[in-house]
Symmetry: C2
Subunit: 225 residues, 2 copies
Amino acid sequence: MTPRSARSNPLALAVLTCLLERPMHPYEMAQTLRARAKHESIRLNYGSLYGVVEALEKRQLIRARETVRAGRRPERTIYEITDAGLREMADWLSELVAAPTKEYLQFEAALSLLPALPPDEALAALKQRRESLEIEIALLDGAVAAARAHGMPRLFALESEYVQALRRAELEYVERLEKDIESGELSGLDQWRSWYAPGGERDLDAHASDEIPGADPSNPSSITS
Amino acid sequence: MTPRSARSNPLALAVLTCLLERPMHPYEMAQTLRARAKHESIRLNYGSLYGVVEALEKRQLIRARETVRAGRRPERTIYEITDAGLREMADWLSELVAAPTKEYLQFEAALSLLPALPPDEALAALKQRRESLEIEIALLDGAVAAARAHGMPRLFALESEYVQALRRAELEYVERLEKDIESGELSGLDQWRSWYAPGGERDLDAHASDEIPGADPSNPSSITS
DNA sequence: ACCCAAATACTCCTTGACGAGTAATCGTGA
DNA sequence: TCACGATTACTCGTCAAGGAGTATTTGGGT
């Protein structure tokens, strides 16, 4: 079985897809990925790239084909994909598409700690986020339209369409939350206000004494489940 | 100035918010965060926790108040938040809410490499994802309803509402993509099919020779920008 | 009275990400 | 023609994340 940890870095998958096209040396992979704007979707830097390539070679998913030296410049090692590499690539990519994975988003973390901020500060920050999102969405729309105008098929811009869809959903969510705070409709708002009212500070987390339905009682040894 | 790198791990922020309520030792912070289901939103494990706490102490955002020893068990060091810590907490949390950050999502990576899979395999994987998403959304809906029924205010479940909104948007996107591939409406589909047709393999990335509008020509030295 | 599982409260070590650094060569404008 | 900045192609050191391990104690059943 392929160990789970080996599939942690998507950059390795990107390397495999590069070598699917033709043999390359690592630096050329980086150029190729950059030229196709993959670095917008996949973390890519030299420090990791060479490490990832070595790991793939150790796992026999790629093999060094030749090493060329032009003048006295550092030698380029050209890699090619193996049969096992082809299989691993298809399998990994299929899995990545088929199975949603838990992601730890910054904004999710922020929302989960939001009560640690006074309501008015939280509201101000939310307004800023809304504006930033509006700008970002407009820019992304423009970029997609430009790509379309240049004749780039949608097939090669699926990831930006997806990100755009997520951003729009986030904007709607932020708009709704902002309104619900301002209108006082959000339940728990009274408690929240009272913690920061002069002379308040009583009653912190009266809610937390109850059992929280979202928490599963499994996983005794591991903390993260 | 607070160095950017110091704000990389949201677990540190969670620690600060714990100590905002009352002094605690690290293990108790973990219990508290777990009891409130924060580990669903914030990566939490002991290995990181103690390192993060040490770093916060070094930055003078928290300080050790006392160390107690019960019997011969390992001693517990109880920490409290400092004034600088209070300020850092509010500032960091505000920033996290106000400024959207670039996230590298697994599915985004997968979509950006999708052409490396034959169209029919891609389609099969997408169908699987759709089903998984439908199930997950239903489960989350149930959990949120249960929490509501138990009287937990919305304020303390904002993060799951947000995740739910993202999942729904993703489901809609996947449904649309599936349909556009099946109906043949997706532009580039003909090229895609031809690469995997028997005798095909010609014309890989004819599109890539053009300048890609999504790629910004900045950042010469750094690869990731 | 005793046994075993779970909880308490950490420690340690391996991996791996990341960014800065390096050294040679190529292009280009004055 | 020649300086100088960009490009090519990688290397190295640091630092943090994460999981597995450890030693003690409490609790619950028989």
